[in-house]
Symmetry: C2
Subunit: 339 residues, 2 copies
């Protein structure tokens, strides 16, 4: 006697119910963390689940229920750049960690060149309950579009374009402020900055921090060069700064990876780091510790970043009230040899 259909292996909810001595309704309630379940039942169900190695069928839950039990992580940028970024990797790790234990699937989506509308259709088509959007450029319309359709989202990084959707960001302003205060405490007075792109909040916030730090002590806030987050652009920016002010004694660079390029130029021009010019970076990425000299930088906890985004989204999906619209995560100065 063979089974007609090839059934999926593993126990069903019905069997858990039998073992626990309750109905499948009660098992379902326990799985979904609903109230109105006695402590006795709850524990019996947990024991039965552990005993049988039960794991609920995602498809069945989704089909029967009114939610998809999945969230999307949308990387809103040419994947090539983002994915090789340690920032993204850390965020992904955090998201995954926060999802552990909950029965929520993570769907990864990246902007295919051809996508666009298809992506929005998929996201709003009921396949996911919410989305985490890592949107690197300020002008990206995706967060707004998704938010307008009513899909719960959390954006990673403060959105420049206004709009009032929830976001999580590192405290870029205070990180930069702390960096500048540190440079000032070192006795530096001619402190330049290599800022990030003006169309990204992360760039603008770090620049604001630098400005405030200088203003606090009545120092000049003129030595600014914008750049993008590559070593080459950082090198170019440093050259322009040295051209304007050959006698600067410190640089706050808005990203470690740019700082690398800047340090190359400084050393090539014969400046000693940190004796002639102190350098502070931002991110505390892997390259900071292995730079020559090791880079003093502002640390942001990217894994916490991912965890927090996920927590915020799940809380909203769970119907929690009075959630903060935005969350800023602390940054901290990591002192190494360069400043």
């Amino acid at each position: 006697m063979t089974e007609g259909r090839s059934r999926r292996p593993g126990p069903r909810i019905e069997e858990v119910a039998r073992v626990a001595g309750v109905s499948k309704s009660t098992v379902s309630r326990v799985i979904n963390g609903e109230k109105y379940v006695s402590e006795r039942s709850r524990q019996a169900v947990h024991r039965a689940i552990a005993l049988l190695g039960y794991s609920p069928n995602h498809a069945a839950r989704t089909l029967a229920g009114s939610k998809a039990n999945a969230i999307a992580l949308v990387v809103s940028e040419q994947g090539s750049r983002v994915l090789t970024d340690p920032f993204f990797a850390g965020v992904l790790r955090g998201v995954h960690a926060e999802l552990a234990g909950r029965h929520v699937q993570l769907l990864l989506m990246m902007n295919q060149p051809s996508d666009g509308a298809g992506q929005v259709a998929y996201l709003t088509g009921g396949h996911v309950d919410g989305a985490l959007v890592v949107s690197l450029h300020g002008e990206d319309p995706l967060p707004r579009t998704l938010h307008e359709t009513g899909l719960p989202i959390v954006v990673g990084g403060r959105p420049l374009a206004g709009g009032s959707f929830p976001f999580v960001d590192s405290d870029n302003f205070n990180g930069a402020l702390e960096a500048v205060r540190h440079l000032i405490s070192l006795g530096r007075e001619k402190i330049a900055t290599i800022a990030g792109p003006a169309d990204m909040a992360v760039g603008m916030d770090r620049l604001s921090g630098w400005r405030c730090g200088l203003a606090e002590h009545g120092l000049a806030v003129k030595l600014v060069v914008h750049s993008d987050f590559t070593p080459e652009a950082g090198a170019l920016a440093m050259e322009r700064l040295l051209h304007i002010a050959p006698d600067l004694d410190a640089v706050f660079v808005a990203a470690d990876i740019m700082a690398l390029g800047a340090m190359m130029v400084l050393q090539a021009r014969g400046y000693q780091i940190p004796d002639d010019v102190a350098v502070v970076g931002f991110d505390d990425s892997v390259v900071a510790a292995t730079a020559v000299p090791p880079l003093t930088t502002v640390r942001q906890d990217v894994e916490q970043f991912g965890r927090t985004m996920t927590w915020r989204l799940l809380a909203e999906l769970a119907g929690e009230e009075k959630l903060p619209l935005s969350i800023l995560l602390p940054t901290s100065l990591v002192r190494r040899a360069s400043a």
Copy 2:
């Protein structure tokens, strides 16, 4: 009159059937590309689908059918290390690209410290049709365990532990061989290597390539130091090499990231690169081009790596026969300033 339950939007298969003037069985057959459907019916169904903007419900298909319409990408290692690895990021991109357009979902799984058995249970529990396993350490039992349960898998990187499951790997041996031949063509004769861990195939294969390259020209194959894939370990390894052989004139380093550390040490000791010591890395990761001096390295196409793994798995799931058990992807030398 409000709807009792909040239904998902969009038409069902039943409605498509009505519009096309056939039964839902026939619509199902068309969707799944089965034979035994008349051309007339097929076209009518296609027209109805287009007219209604119908898109089949993933959960329902999975629940009713015998397949999950999803595959897992299992990262079998402490996520912390792996995820910040550009290698992983590239693979992920490739997997995603290959999946585009097919109705297959990608599930990301990482080894939580607590997991283990739970992970296996989930994977073999019918939630996925197959798994991509990026297994970095040779002794990892996961691929074998999964394979024994009958779950189709493709392993990324040659498994050390034997076992006959499909895998995809870069041609590490020939990449290393080419690197050494290049060094020899430069007139170098005392060529050391900083090898990867001995428990990883990627480490062993690159080491073998180095050995063969030297043996071809009757050069000594003594200068080996094992290390792991971090800059710090690379630096330490370089120090040990210099201690053994201060007069070496070239190093083949089994990973760019280790080469970074090695180059720091060489420069600190006053060696000129490449004049005194030529350095060749492996991977052609982002850091290679921005190193000082820019690093000559062996390029592997990590995105292609991911694509190939995915292609192989989907082909097997589609029931294709005579698929190659293992696939080696070509590597190529990228010449920059360091050698």
